[in-house]
Structure formats: C-alpha cells, structure tokens
C-alpha cells in the first residue's frame, strides 16, 4: 500500500458517482444509503492518508500516470491537505446522513452524484499541485455548487444559482487569463517549479498574472465585494449542501488563495497583494457582520456569520507571518466544526418546523431541546466565548494581526464581532425564553448523535486545544514555508 494509493481519494468518489446511473432503479432511499457508504469509505481512505502523512512526517506525492512532477500532474498531500481532506470527508459523511431527512426533492440519484462530485472537487482543489489542475477542480466544485444551489427548483434557488454562475463565470475566466500569463512567462504549470522561477519572471507580467489569479480565487473564497452571491447561495441551497459550502468549499478556495499567494513570495509587487487582501478581508468581516444584524431568516443570518468568519480566516492568512497562517488554519478547523453544527441544527429545524424564519425558532428550547442545546453551543462557540474552540483561534488571529502592524484592522474585526455577539445572543434568547406553541417534536437519533459528537468536539478543543493546535501549526508551516514545499516535490530537471 504505497503512497500512490492516496489517488483513491480522487478515484473513489469519481467511480462511485459514475456508478450511480446504473443503480438508478433502486429508488431514493437505497441511493442515500449508497451515498453514506461511499462517504464513509472516502473518510476511511482520508484517515489512512492522514495517518501516513502525520506518522512519516513527509508529504505523499501522488504522480498521475507515473510521470514526475513538472511533466505530469502531482497531488501534493502535505500536512494541510491530509488534515483537510479528512475534514472534507467527515463533513460529507455527516451531511450524507443528514440528507436522509432534509432532501426530498425528486431526482435523488442526481443529488447523490452532485454530492459526491462536490466532495471530489473540494478534495482535488486542496490536494492538487498544478495550477491548471487547480482550475479544473475549481470548475468541478463551482459547477456542482451551481447545480446544487438550484437543486430545489424554487424561484429563489434558481435566482441564487444564476447570480453564482454569472459571478463565478467571470471569476474563473479571469483566473484562466492569469494562468495564460503565468504559463506564457514561465513555461511550466507545476506549483513547485513556479515557486522556483518566481523570482526570474518579468515584473509586470507577474504583477498582472498574480492579481488575476488572486481575483479569480477571491470570488470563490468570498472576499468582500466579490461575495455578493454567497448569502443567496447559502440560503437557497438544500441544508446539507449549505453546511458543505461553509465547512469546506470556501476553505478550499481560501487554501488555494493562500497557497498561490505564498508561492510567489519572491515576485515583485507581492506586498501590495497582501495589503489588498488584508483590506478586503477586514471589509468582509465588517460588511457581513453588520448585514446579519437585523436578519429575519436564521439560515441567512448564519450564512452571513460564516462569511464573516471566512473573512477573519482570510485576514489571518494574508497577514504575512507564520503565526498568522497557523492561526488562520486553526480557525479553519474550528470554523468547519462550528458551522457544520450550526447549519445542521438550523437545517433540521427548518425541515421539522417548516422554514428557517426567526419565528420558527421561538421556544425551541422546549420544542426540540437537543437541537436547541446544540445550536446554543454552536452559537456561543461562534461568538468566541472562552471554553469553546473559536476563542483560542480568534485570540491568536488578533494578536498575530496586531503584531504585523494591522492594529486598525484588528480593531474593526473586534467591533464587528461585538455585533456578532448581539445577533447570536438574540437568537439564543428567542430560542430558550421565547413563547412556544406547545407541540414537542421528536428528534431523530442519527442527527442527535452527530450534533452531540460535534458539541463534544467543540468543548474538547475549547478546554484542551493542544493536539489541534499542533496539527494547525504543522499545516500552517506547510503553506507558509515554500522552500520546504519545493524541497518535498521531486522535480525532474526539465529546465532549459
């Protein structure tokens, strides 16, 4: 079982997605069981990859077709990729179980195919070591996201998908122009070789190319002005898909952004890109938090809160110090756990009580106590109360950004998180102390266990964050330390 079997990470979802049309006849429920089985298998493979990478300490380089990197495409599964592929697989497994209750619109076989391919796209984006392959996997994720956003076939869902398609289309076209420029000036597409050649490229080309790459990925990673599509897409998509959006689809975009930005750290005009990213990240946090203040729909409110936390991660990643990147990665892990829990519970309430408006949440404490408890823990964690997991990473991000001289940005972010505290605590108050209509709803066991597992995970990280912090630290150095990245990739001497 040598390292190359890690390519199963890509092959398994693909072959099972292609298999679904053959078992179309078995009916919706069987397909959902099949979906859960496949995501469980994927989680197993991801766990195996995680174990090998973290025990040997060396990244796994999957060389497609046997060709060594600059010639063939390589999947660089380093510390970050191994960790995050596992998170992607686990979250997809949980959401597959959640799809049993929440997705009832008709062509479930097509839903299963799109679900698997969304997971594949995110895994590919995180693992790939080649910028055009990154573009292809980004397209896979985007197009599955378009289809899944419009899956409910309501007017709003189609509208949200339309906005996402138009903006995503522009973003990816400019990303491709960026690739054309970078390829035109260097002659290679492999990330490691690009990092080597970064210093020697003609400065104007690298300035334009890098800004286009960053622009294309910023649309996918929801930075301030470019995230106008995100709240609608989160609100209109089916509940499990929204959880997957906020847990790892955005993270994959953010990781690719950070990877590309730090790849070209020797190129000219690099610090301007970082300054622009910091400003955009702070504005994201500010705009998203304030827009969530008087929201009538809880799902849209949590979507805005997720966008603002993503802005916080972008701020941490673009601060430009090793500590910042590590804090950003730690926040990615925490945010993935918290947001999955939040969207799971809100979605479940939406399904059981019919609709995610704030009035459906009043008196939830007595109506659905377990879900209300899980939602409260998730909300408190998101606000950053101590003894919960986001507290640690938020403190580190603020300290890292102040250390790099961005005190004003840290101030704006803190002011925005005060606003976040207000709307989350309003939700908690309506849930526990609001009036209720007396019907008590029975909650399903599997979702209860998932919610409890996530709650325990949040408390575990909150009380004793050491193991997760070491994970985040090694993953952070994996992104930030480009020279180690180049050393790990077995480049063939293809140079002129």
């Amino acid at each position: 079982m040598n390292g190359q079997y890690a390519s199963l990470l890509v092959a398994l979802p693909l072959i099972s997605a292609f298999f679904v049309p053959l078992i179309k006849g078995l009916g919706g429920r069987a397909i959902k069981y099949y979906l859960t089985l496949i995501t469980a298998l994927q989680a197993g493979v991801a766990a195996w990859v995680f174990k090998t990478v973290y025990t040997t300490g060396k990244p796994i380089i999957v060389m497609a077709g046997g060709w060594r990197p600059p010639v063939g495409i390589d999947l660089y599964i380093g510390h970050f990729a191994a960790l995050f592929v596992l998170i992607v697989a686990l979250v997809s497994f949980f959401m597959a179980i959640f799809s049993f209750d929440s997705v009832s619109t008709e062509p479930t076989d097509k839903y299963a195919m799109l679900f698997l391919l969304l997971m594949l796209g995110a895994t590919g984006m995180i693992a790939t070591g080649d910028i055009f392959n990154l573009f292809v996997f980004m397209e896979i994720t985007s197009i599955t996201a378009y289809a899944l956003t419009a899956y409910n076939k309501t007017g709003e869902a189609a509208e949200a998908a339309m906005k996402y398609i138009v903006l995503g289309g522009i973003g990816s076209s400019f990303f491709l122009i960026g690739i054309a420029l970078i390829y035109g000036s260097t002659g290679t597409l492999n990330m490691a070789q690009l990092a080597q050649l970064a210093g020697s490229i003609n400065p104007t080309v690298i300035k334009v190319g890098l800004s286009l790459l960053v622009f294309g990925l910023a649309v996918e990673a929801e930075l301030f002005p470019l995230n106008a599509w995100a709240p609608d897409a989160y609100q209109a998509a089916p509940h499990p898909v929204t959880a997957m959006f906020s847990a790892f689809v955005v993270k994959a975009g953010l990781y690719a952004l950070a990877r590309l930005v730090y790849l070209f750290s020797h190129a000219a005009g690099w610090d301007f890109i970082l300054k622009l990213l910091v400003i955009m990240a702070t504005l994201t946090v500010f705009a998203a938090e304030f827009s969530a203040l008087r929201q009538r729909d809880v799902k849209r409110m949590i979507a805005y809160s997720s966008i603002s936390q993503v802005g916080l991660i972008a701020l941490a990643l673009s601060v430009g110090s090793q500590l910042g990147v590590q804090a950003g990665v730690f926040h990615m892990i925490n945010h993935a756990v918290v947001k999955t829990l939040l969207f799971l519970t809100v979605g479940y309430v939406g399904v059981k009580v019919g609709g995610t408006g704030i009035e459906n949440f009043s008196g939830l404490g007595r109506k659905m106590p377990l879900t209300a408890f899980a939602l409260t823990v998730g909300a408190l964690a998101a606000v950053g109360i101590p003894l919960f997991n986001i507290f640690w990473s938020k403190v580190w991000i603020i300290i890292a950004s102040i250390e790099q001289g961005y005190a004003w940005e840290a101030g704006v972010v803190l002011a925005a998180s005060v606003v976040e505290a207000v709307y989350y605590l309003r939700l908690i108050h309506t849930m526990w102390f609001g009036g209720w209509d007396g019907i008590r709803i029975r909650e399903s066991l599997p979702l209860g266990t998932i919610a409890l597992f996530l709650v325990l995970l949040i408390l575990a990280i909150g009380v004793y964050p050491n193991p997760f912090w070491t994970l985040a630290k090694s993953a952070g150095t994996d992104i930030f330390n480009v020279s180690r990245y180049i050393a790990n990739v077995p480049l063939m001497g293809v140079g002129p």
Binding site: K163, V166, L167, I170, T204, K207, V208, S211, L212, F215, A218, V219, P225, L226, A228, W229, P231, D232, F272, L276, A287, F290, S291, L293, R294, F330, L380, G384, I385, P386, L387, F391, W392, V395, W396, I398, I399, S401, I402, E403, G405, A407, A410, G411, L414, A415, S417, V418, V419, A421, V422, L425, R426, H429, F433, Y464, P465, N466, W469, T470
Partner: protein, 621 residues
C-alpha cells in the same frame, strides 16, 4: 497546611465552582442541586483560608499548558486578599441562592462567574486574565439574560467592548514586547519606554484601552449604564456577588495597570504630570469622583429598591477608583480596605433585598412599610449594613472611608475630597430613605402575613455581617493584611487602633462610648418616659380617619424637592444616549445591507469590475 497540598490550592479555588456548577446543572433535583452549589462555593473559602500563611509569606504559582498558550496563575498576598473577599461573598451568595432560586441554570452560571472572578484575581499573564474575564462576563450575562433581554444585551455589549479593548491592548503589548506574562511584559515595556523604542502615542493608547476595559466593569460614569439593569433585573442573592465582587474585578484591573505592572508606572510617568499629580492617576481620580457624585445623586432619586442599591453600588466603587487615583500610600490603603468593606456591606444589602423581595414579592418603596416587627433578624442585619454604608464608626465602612478622606487631604486634592464628603452625605440620605421606607412607618395591609427570611438566607447574611462588625471594631487586622502587599504608611498600633501621619482612629474606645450611650438610651426608654404602646395605624390626622390611600408615611418620592432642583441635569441621561447610538448602528447596518446586497446581479458584476479597476490602476501606475 498539610491538609491541602500546595499544588492543589490554585486549581481547587479556580475550578471547583465551575465543576460543581456543571454538576448542579446536571443533577437538577431539589436538594441535591443546593448542596452541590454550596459545596462548590465553600471549597475556595476553605482552601484559601488554609493556604493563608503560605500565600501571605511567599507565592504559590501554577501553570496550565494548553498548547496554544501557557496560562500562569500565582497566589500571593495581593491576589489572596481579593480572592478571599470574593470567596467570602461567594459562600454568602451560595446560601442566599439556595433559598431564592430553584434552578440549575442559575447555579451553573453564578458559579461560572465565580470561577471567572477567581481566575481574574489569580491570573499572572494577559491571556488567562482575558479568558477568565470573558468567562466571568458570560456567566453574569446569562444570569441577566434569563430575566430581561434588553438589559442583558446592553450589559453584554458594553462589557464585550471592554473585553475586546483589553484584547487590543494585550495585542499591542505583545506586539512590542513579545511576551504575554505580566512581569516580563512590564520589564521589556519599561526598557522600551526608556530607550524610546515605543512612541508616547502608543503607550497612551494602551493606557486608554486598559482604562476603558476596567472602567466598564467597575462602572465608571460614562460606562455605568449597564449597572442598574444588570444588578436590578437579576436574582438578588446573585447580585450580592455580582455587584460585591465582579465590580472588584474592574478595580483589580486598575491595580494591575498601576502596581503589578511596574513598567506601566513608566506609562504614568511618561504621561507627565498635571498640577504635580501624575496625569494618568489624576484622570482616574476624577473619573472616580464624577462617578461618586453622579451615582449618589441618581441613587437618592430612585423609587425601586434594586435601582437604589445598584446606583449606590456604582457610587461606592467610585470611591475605590477615586482612592486609587489619589495614588498616595494612605489613600491606596483606604481603597483596599474599602474593597473589603464595600464587598461586605453591599453583599449584605443585596441579600437583605433578596429576603424582602422573596417574602413580599414587591420591589417599589411605596409598597413596603413597617416590616421591622415582621422580620426582626433581617432588620438587625439591615441596621448593620446601613451603619456600615453610611460610614458610622463601629462599622468597617467608617474605617475605610476615613482612610480615604485622610489620603485625599494629604494629597492636596481639595476638590476631590469635596466630592467624597458630598458623596457620603448623599449615601446617608438614600440609606435613611431605605431604612424609613422599608422598615418603619405604616405597614400596608397586604404585608401583614410576612414571615421572617428563610434560614439559609439568614446564614448568608450573618456570614457577611460578622466581618462588618469585626473589621469595624478591629481595623488593624485588615490594615496589617493590606500592609503586607502595599507599603501604605498607615501604622498599626494594635488590632483596634490605626494611625496615619495626620491622625489615629481608636475603634475600641469609640465602640465602648457607643455601647454606653446605647445603654443609657435603653434605660431611659424602659424606665423613664412612660411610653404607651400605640398601634402604628392610628396616628391622629386632624379629624379624618387614616385610610389606606391617604396614609401619613411619605414613601413615594421621598426626595421630590431634590429631584425638582436637579431636573436641569436629569434631562441628560447616558442611558438614552447609548440607546440612540445602538439604534443608529442598527439603521446603518440596515442601510449597508440594503445598499450592498441589493439582489441585482448586474450591480454584483459591477463590484467585480470595480475590483479589477483597482487592480488595474495599481498595475498601471
């Protein structure tokens, strides 16, 4: 000392309340919950008292390595002093809670704030301070959330703004010094200020942010808006802890910036002087003075017992801040003593109001009256609390206020001393109003069947009443303790007499004179005037019978003339200002959301084009 090994002292005091709180919340059965809660509150008191000698001579340190940060805690004489006061009021609160609230929810969050305060007092590095600070705020917030959303949100927003400004200051200190520990941070900051590595503006912002953070919790005037709501809309026995000890966390914060971090001295020195006083401490003194005056005036005019006590609590903490601001030995000693006495008598007051509300269910003065016969023990406790708050000799309140007066006069701050006198006069005014309206006068008919307060509440009250008397009669004990961590030039002649450079106070003689006076008055009362027992209700009223709605006792708007005199000032209220500010931000949020996310895909693509334009303009120039 062998009973509790040294390594377990700090973790026990820190985490036992939280652990027992969670247990009480889980085992939500009637008596189990109360017992667990009381044990949770009792553990810190016993452990601290056992660790007294070890802590007062050396230090007990304890570190938790959570990987992300190393949380460092130290129990030395200063932190022991504060922690013990907190623990004492905590155990009283526990007894009070066991009779006033029957819910696991209250136990969980009150004991969580207990752990938070203990953590704040024992913390030795910024991150653990910030962590426990947030925990304390969150615990107390949840107690208020249950009863009143608006007040609790107001409280939470203000204290989170304070907490986050502290985080900003911590970040700025870390950015310059690279460490988070008090000692190391202060050394490096001191060096940097000397070598000019840190600009004055930078130091000023750090000071301002710390001032804001600790000012919110201590309830300095512009930031005191949350106090009446948070203290009032709460389970009264928990408020004894809330206002007695949590406000001390704010005071402790000032002490950290002033003394624990010597380098911040550098800040105060670096900020130059003003009329011979350090500008930094001068600012703090005036903040305290304004708080004392404003809070006392507002307290006098209140109609609701909880609002009165809340404003009075804000005023008393203003005393402590003022004394810290005066910044000479005697005043700081007085401040420390006042921390102790305020915790005791304010805790006692809140427990009394808990008993009153528990038994009568009423909170406004006009509904009370003539409860002295019905609740004699609580009345006795109320007498002790009233004497102590007003600063009448045999009680602890007098000793600490006296020291603060001495300090202020020595420091040649006449105006500040003036505000202290005005403040204590007003204190006496509202205390009389409380005494008169609640205990004496005509008892409304529906209060006839009022019974005495339940036993646990009475136990709690006695726990807080005894120190009032003890430290009243023997101030030397407290001052000897305070001299161990601050070199206040108050000399302790013996346990009952203390003297400052300008005067001595012999508590024993004063108490003896008082007892003799009382004895004489008692004799006259019993044998002298042949006093008849008159039923309270049949006071003569020029011919027409005394009925319910026209009774002689003026409980309502006791200080109506004062209110009319002050109505020019009463127009401006900080509360309305903050309300308007909050609505403004919400409308801005609405405008921003409607403006930016306006649903039109074309404007969204225009945003993309604008970003491309920015990149282009940067690229082209």
């Amino acid at each position: 000392m062998t009973l509790v090994p040294e390594a377990y002292v700090v973790p026990l005091t820190l985490f036992s309340p939280l652990v027992f709180g969670v247990l009480a919340w889980l085992f939500d059965r009637d008596w189990i919950r109360e017992i667990l809660g009381v044990i949770g509150a009792a553990v810190p008191v016993t452990v601290l008292s056992l660790a007294y000698e070890k802590a007062s001579s050396g230090t007990i340190s304890y570190t938790i390595d959570t990987g992300v940060f190393k949380l460092h805690f130290v129990l030395n004489s200063l932190s022991w002093y504060f922690a013990f006061i907190g623990a004492l009021v905590g155990i009283a609160m526990a007894f009070g809670l066991s009779s006033t609230s029957r819910r696991g929810y209250d136990w969980l969050f009150s004991l969580m704030s207990f752990t938070g305060v203990m953590g704040v007092f024992l913390a030795r590095d910024f991150v653990s301070l910030f962590l426990f600070w947030e925990l304390m705020t969150f615990g107390s917030f949840m107690m208020v959330l249950r009863r009143n959303r608006h007040e609790s949100l107001k409280y939470f927003v203000l204290s989170v703004i304070g907490a986050y400004s502290m985080l900003l200051a911590i970040g700025m200190v870390y950015a310059k010094t690279g460490t988070l520990d008090y000692a190391m941070a202060s050394q490096t900051l001191l060096l940097l200020t000397k070598m000019g590595g840190v600009s004055k503006a930078y130091v000023d912002t750090i000071f301002a942010l710390f001032l804001l953070a600790f000012g919110v919790k201590a309830g300095v005037v512009p930031l005191h808006v949350w106090a009446p709501g948070a203290y009032g809309e709460n389970d009264q026995s928990y408020t004894s802890f809330f206002s007695g000890v949590l406000s001390k966390a704010g005071v402790y914060g000032f002490i950290i910036t002033l003394f624990v971090m010597p380098s911040l001295y550098g800040i105060y020195f670096a900020m130059g002087t003003f009329h011979g006083h350090l500008t930094g401490t001068y600012l703090i003194a005036w903040a305290g003075a304004v708080t004392v005056v404003v809070a006392s005036f507002l307290a006098v005019l209140q109609e609701d017992i909880r609002k009165l006590l809340a404003y009075s609590s804000v005023g008393q903490v203003g005393y402590i801040i003022l004394a810290l601001g005066v910044f000479n030995g005697v005043a700081v000693g007085g401040a420390m003593f006042h921390v102790l006495s305020h915790a005791m008598f304010k805790g006692l007051f809140w427990l009394i109001s808990a008993a009153l509300i528990l038994r009568t269910g009423k909170t406004r003065f006009e509904d009370f009256g003539g409860l002295a016969e019905k609740m004699p023990v609580t009345f006795a406790m109320a007498l002790i609390a009233v004497l102590s708050l007003a600063g009448i000799p045999p009680m602890a309140g007098f000793a600490s206020k006296w020291l603060i007066y001495e300090g202020a006069i020595q420091a040649h701050m006449p105006l500040v001393a003036g505000t202290i006198f005005l403040g204590s006069a007003l204190a006496f005014a509202y205390v009389v109003r409380f005494l008169y309206a609640v205990w004496f006068g005509q008892r409304p008919s529906d209060l006839d069947d009022v019974r005495e307060a339940p036993l646990p509440l009475l136990v709690g009250m006695t726990i807080l009443a005894i120190p009032n008397i003890v430290f009243g009669i023997a101030p030397g004990l407290a001052v000897r303790l305070i001299n161990r961590f601050f070199n206040t030039n108050i000399t302790v002649n013996s346990y009952y007499s203390i003297s400052t450079p300008t005067g001595t106070y012999n508590a024993l003689s004063v108490t003896l004179v008082l007892i003799v006076g009382l004895a004489i008055a008692g004799l006259i009362y019993i044998y002298g005037a042949n006093a008849r027992k008159i039923k309270v209700t049949n006071t003569y009223q020029s011919g027409n019978p005394v009925t319910e709605e026209y009774n002689l006792v003026i409980r309502r708007n006791f200080y109506r003339p004062l209110a009319e005199a002050l109505d020019f000032w009463l127009k401006y209220s900080w509360d309305r200002f903050y309300e308007r500010l909050a609505n403004l931000t919400e409308d801005f949020a609405d405008w921003l959301r409607e403006g930016f996310y306006n649903g039109n895909v074309q404007s969204y693509s225009w945003y993309l084009a604008i970003i491309l334009l920015i990149l282009a303009i940067w690229g082209v120039l």
